[in-house]
Structures are given as structure tokens and as C-alpha cells.
């Protein structure tokens, strides 16, 4: 039997256009909100884990009422313990505050394992998993691409990958796995309709990060065509220094 908390963040659809208005990303322009993709892989791993080992999942999110959707989606796949953390200033929480709020909820849930994405698709920071682990005094296995119910995890190394085990309690952050993400069915959706979401306060201390503003990334220079293979070194240099993709 294993008790797993899965942390699910609601983010703009990864295909959405991100527009900055008055120094801030305009969230009102986002039509479609989804569960952050890496979190979905974490959730699928958790579902498989409890299917094999027994136990249950607590799904936890942090955000406004619309974030209930990610919990309902989890409920449609059979999760009954649903927690949404609500802070009035949820948009401005810094990494430490987010970790503290989530760690409180995880502690309240009383779990053996915390599964989450290696980073969210909006802030891209990757601090949440290891940060919570530190607060909980737990180990963290990061960027896992394969897991099993025996508690072994495949994580990347400089020279390839390695399979590790970890003593619980532990936090595991997931990158994309080979698992196919399951779809809900109508029966699950009808169950989700009746699912109860527990809303709790974040109870975090003041932020130590001043938010100055968002901006749009620098415009790409217009495309350019170079003559002959002798131009290849120049292009490779530009890919590194200008495009920064190598």
C-alpha cells in the first residue's frame, strides 16, 4: 500500500500565444487551461503505482477556482482526495512560498511519496519538487523518465541514466515518460461531477522576491541566406551566440 500526493498545476495550453500587456502576461487572453504536461506524466505514474501496489492518491493544486478543473480531471480518473490551496495573492507567490504552501498540504495528506512534474509549463523554474523535499526532510529524485511500483526510478546522468531507489518519504519529479496518458470516460466524468474539493489556505510568510515585470522575448533577426558550405562555421556560431540553441 502506498499513499501518493500528486501535485498538479494548471497552466495555459502549451500551444497558447503568450501576450504581455502593461508588463504582465495577459492571462485573460488565454482561452484554454490545461494540466501542466510533466505533471500529467507524474499523475499517470502515480495511477500505475497504486494500481500495482494498492493505496490511494491525493491530488493537490494551488490556484484560483478555475484550477478546480485539473482536480476534476484527476477525479474523472478515480482520485477522490482533492485539495486546492487558495491564496489571494497566488499569482505573486515566489518559489519558496509555493513550496511552503504545497508542503503544508502534503503534510496534511500524510503520504509516502510526492509525485510532480520536473517543472511547470508556465514558470519553468523546477524548484518546487526539490524545495518541498527539503522542507519535508525527504529525498528527491528528479527528472524521472521511468518508474515502477517497486519504487525504482530511472533518472538522467551525464553519461546516460541510472536506476535508483529511494527511502520514503520522497519526492519524485517526472519528465516525459513512455507511458500513454489515459483518457477519462463518461462514467468517470459523472463521478467527477460529484467529487468534493477541499479548499485550504496556503499559510505562507511574506515574499522575498520583487516582481519587476514580464516582457516579450527579443525579436529574432530576419532570416538570412548564406552562400556556400564555407558559411557553415559562421552559421554554427550564430546558432550558439545569437539563437542560443546549441
Amino acid at each position: 500500500m502506498v499513499e501518493i500526493a500528486v501535485l498538479l498545476k494548471q497552466v495555459p495550453d502549451t500551444n497558447a500565444k503568450i501576450v504581455v500587456v502593461n508588463g504582465r502576461v495577459d492571462e485573460s487572453a488565454i482561452a484554454s487551461w490545461v494540466t501542466s504536461p510533466y505533471d500529467e506524466y507524474a499523475f499517470e505514474a502515480a495511477l500505475q503505482h497504486i494500481e500495482a501496489a494498492g493505496g490511494s492518491i491525493t491530488a493537490i493544486t494551488l490556484g484560483p477556482a478555475r484550477a478546480d478543473k485539473v482536480l476534476k480531471d484527476a477525479a474523472a480518473l478515480g482520485v477522490t482526495k482533492l485539495v486546492r490551496i487558495w491564496q489571494d495573492d497566488w499569482q505573486d507567490l515566489d518559489s519558496n512560498q509555493v513550496q511552503a504552501a504545497l508542503a503544508n498540504a502534503v503534510t496534511a495528506a500524510g503520504v509516502d511519496l510526492v509525485y510532480c512534474g520536473k517543472q511547470s509549463a508556465d514558470r519553468n523554474q523546477g524548484s518546487t519538487g526539490p524545495g518541498i523535499a527539503e522542507i519535508l526532510g525527504a529525498a528527491c529524485v528528479s527528472e524521472v523518465s521511468e518508474s515502477d511500483s517497486a519504487g525504482s526510478y530511472l533518472r538522467p546522468t551525464a553519461s546516460g541514466s541510472e536506476r535508483v531507489t529511494v527511502s520514503s518519504p520522497a519526492v519524485v519529479t517526472f519528465t516525459k515518460t513512455q507511458n500513454e496518458l489515459r483518457r477519462p470516460n463518461v462514467r468517470g466524468i459523472m463521478m467527477a461531477k460529484r467529487a468534493q474539493i477541499e479548499v485550504v489556505g496556503g499559510d505562507v510568510s511574506a515574499s522575498q522576491v520583487n516582481f519587476n515585470g514580464h516582457s516579450s522575448p527579443a525579436q529574432k533577426p530576419p532570416g538570412k541566406t548564406y552562400e556556400g558550405s564555407e558559411s557553415v562555421p559562421e552559421v554554427v556560431g550564430l546558432l550558439r551566440d545569437e539563437a542560443k540553441v546549441l
Binding site: 482561452a31 476534476k72 480531471d73 477519462p184 470516460n185 463518461v186 462514467r187 467527477a192
Partner: protein, 390 residues
């Protein structure tokens, strides 16, 4: 290419959470499992069996029916399901329409308790497939003059006749067949394997190629007495089924139109002629604006009709209007979209020509465009004009 469903008035924001979840479930499935395989299914002329399994697993078959293993979703949810399926292909939506509205519905509404328990739970999971036999080779818009007849032989019924244009026919485990018993139209359940029953596939279609279309042939077909639907007599039986199927079509074709619009918009923005994307030209913008206009109107019709279905304030003429209008504009949108795609529009790399060819069938089946006009004409004037005798 990312699918952004055209929803100019943000009508989906009026859907319930549950309806949105159903939409996303079907939309994701169509995106992941149908679109990558639809062209092959069409060129092979098959309805992939895995789609039957998936529809059953998702639980969308017989969506608005309640009990007997059926989910009891709202009619709006059923409409949304049809829309998302037909965004993939009209043949896929046809499969679901026939199973849910034409085969499951009459058993659910007019069947005996034993019939409901025997068939509906397995039909909801897709383990049993049904079809619907009303149209005959010589009687389409005029089903009341059907030839197929049933005789009471004491311990069984004997069916003779033929039905045509039957979706799912060859693949079906059972058929709900409408036949005259002593001159009165009655519904019968015919099972595959019943003596004297066969369902040969019709071939050579240039439309709905991923859907199975069949004849149903009854030659001294013997069926047990408990296969008659006890709850209905006359044309009311088949027509009540058709009302539900036509309602689903009024939503479904919006999905096909959205797919064509989406493709036309993307294409026009990337196709450069005379140094500019063709989307920059007024004639193209005019076409796109017209498409958006008609899709938005069609969406409003479908949504309002769905609400009427859910609160019971609908009349069949409401459905005729929505079916007729929405198929009509979807077909025109497909043609305009083909025009915007230029020669590329005829290729199977784009969904356009497939939707266009499909919609030609949809315009005719489930009450032709013209018949629906006459239904509305009768409603306006009180005079039926289907026949010469007034």
C-alpha cells in the same frame, strides 16, 4: 497544426464542467487516434474496429439515454460529442448516431424490459453494434409506403423485403427493422444469424468511405415473437428515432465545418501568392468572414436546440431547421474551403475534400434538405406539400 475550434461567441463557455470534460475527452481522442488514421480508413473503405472499442470505452454511445448502462448525459453533451466526432469524420459520427439514436433509442423507448436488459448495456459498451432499417430501395423520403412486411406465424414472425443505405449494417449484431404488420408499421429486432437475414455491404461510395453502408435483405426471415418492439405503432416510431439522430447531425456538421474553416484559415495564412499570404486578399477574407458568420449562426441554432431538447420545449420542426441549415452551410463551407486551398484542396493531405464528399451524403440522409424545407413549409402554412393530393 494546432486545432483551435472556431467559437466566435465563446458559446462553449456556456457548457457545464461535465460537458467541457466530455468535449475534451472526445476531442483529444479524435486528435490522437482518428485524424492520423482517417485517410487510410477512407482509402481502405473500412471503419476501424478499434474506434468501436474506444467509443464504447469512453462511454459515449447512447449518451443521452439513462439507465441500462447508459450514461444519461444532457442532449447538449450529446451534441458536443457529435460535433467533436464529426470534426474527425462524418462516418465516425454516423456510427455513433446510428448506434445511439437509431438502434439504442427505439429499444430504450419502445422496447420491453427484457429487450432493454438484453441489448442496451452491451450496446452502450460497443460490445453489440446495431443498425436501423427504414429506408428501402424504392422508398426513401416516403417511408410510409414501405414494402417490407411482417407476418404473424403464430410462434414467430416472418419478415420479407429489403432495406438500403443502412449504416453499420454489415458490422451489426442486431438491426432495428421497421416493417408492416397487417398494414401497420412496427419495429422488430433482427439479430445477425437469424434465418433468412443477410446484410451485404454496398460498395463504390465516393462519400462516407470510412463508414460501412449495407443492404438488409429479408427472405422468409424467421424471428421469435419477443423481438417486436411493443411500445410503438406507425411512423411515430422511426420518426422519433430520426429526431434524435437529426439533432445530433445539426451539431455534428458544425464540427466538420470548423475543421474546414480551421484548415482554410491556416492555409490562407501560409500560402504566398503575389508576395503576400492569400489571407491578405479581400476575396479570401470575404470567404473566411462568411464561413465564420455561418458557423457562428449554426452554433447558436444547435446550442439553443440542445437546450430545448433538454427542457422538452422542442418540436420536430425545430430539428428540421437546424439539420437543414447546418448541413447546408457546412457543405458550402467545405466547398469554399476547397476553393481557398486551391489545387491543394483536392489532396488527402487536407481534410477538405473528404468532409465535402461526406457532407453530400449528410445533406441527403436523415431527411433530405428539401424534405426538411417542406416540413417547415407545412408548419408555416398548415398545408402539406409532400404529395399532390391535398
Amino acid at each position: 497544426m494546432v486545432y483551435e475550434a472556431l467559437d466566435f461567441y465563446d458559446l462553449d463557455s456556456q457548457l457545464t464542467d461535465e460537458e467541457i470534460m466530455v468535449r475534451d475527452m472526445v476531442r483529444d481522442w479524435v486528435e490522437d487516434e482518428v485524424l492520423p488514421k482517417i485517410e487510410k480508413a477512407c482509402s481502405d473503405g473500412v471503419f476501424p474496429d478499434e474506434w468501436r472499442v474506444a467509443l464504447g470505452e469512453m462511454g459515449v454511445l447512447g449518451a443521452p439515454l439513462e439507465g441500462y448502462g447508459c450514461p444519461g448525459l444532457s442532449y447538449v453533451a450529446y451534441g458536443v460529442i457529435c460535433r467533436e466526432l464529426e470534426r474527425g469524420d462524418s462516418g465516425l459520427r454516423s456510427f455513433a448516431s446510428v448506434q445511439g439514436s437509431l438502434a439504442m433509442y427505439p429499444i430504450w423507448d419502445f422496447g420491453s424490459e427484457e429487450q432493454k436488459n438484453k441489448y442496451l448495456p452491451k450496446m452502450a459498451t460497443g460490445d453489440l453494434i446495431g443498425c436501423f432499417g427504414l429506408t428501402e430501395p424504392d422508398y426513401g423520403s416516403n417511408p410510409g409506403d414501405m414494402i417490407t412486411k411482417a407476418e404473424d406465424k403464430g410462434d414467430h414472425y416472418l419478415l420479407n423485403g429489403a432495406k438500403m443505405w443502412i449504416t453499420n449494417g454489415t458490422n451489426s449484431d442486431l438491426a432495428v427493422v421497421w416493417a408492416k404488420l397487417d398494414g401497420v408499421i412496427r419495429g422488430f429486432i433482427v439479430e445477425t444469424g437469424d434465418e433468412g437475414y443477410s446484410a451485404p455491404e454496398m460498395t463504390g461510395k465516393h462519400s462516407l468511405k470510412a463508414s460501412v453502408t449495407s443492404e438488409l435483405v429479408f427472405q422468409d426471415c424467421k424471428i421469435p415473437k419477443d423481438r417486436i418492439l411493443p411500445g410503438v405503432e406507425g411512423l411515430k416510431g422511426p420518426f422519433s428515432c430520426l429526431n434524435n439522430a437529426r439533432y445530433g447531425i445539426s451539431w455534428g456538421v458544425i464540427g466538420a465545418a470548423q475543421a474546414c474553416f480551421n484548415s482554410a484559415r491556416e492555409y490562407s495564412l501560409s500560402r504566398i501568392q503575389f508576395d503576400h499570404p492569400i489571407a491578405a486578399y479581400q476575396l479570401v477574407q470575404n470567404k473566411l468572414a462568411w464561413m465564420l458568420r455561418e458557423i457562428t449562426k449554426g452554433q447558436l441554432l444547435a446550442l439553443e436546440l440542445g437546450r430545448k431538447k433538454d427542457n422538452g420545449s422542442w418540436i420536430p420542426e425545430h430539428i428540421s431547421l437546424a439539420k437543414m441549415n447546418n448541413v447546408d452551410i457546412a457543405l458550402q463551407i467545405a466547398r469554399e474551403a476547397r476553393d481557398i486551398h486551391g489545387a491543394n484542396g483536392i489532396l488527402d493531405e487536407y481534410c477538405i475534400m473528404r468532409h465535402m464528399a461526406n457532407l453530400e451524403s449528410v445533406k441527403t440522409y436523415e431527411g433530405t434538405h428539401d424534405i426538411h424545407n417542406l416540413i417547415i413549409g407545412r408548419h408555416i402554412t398548415g398545408i402539406q406539400s409532400f404529395t399532390r393530393s391535398i
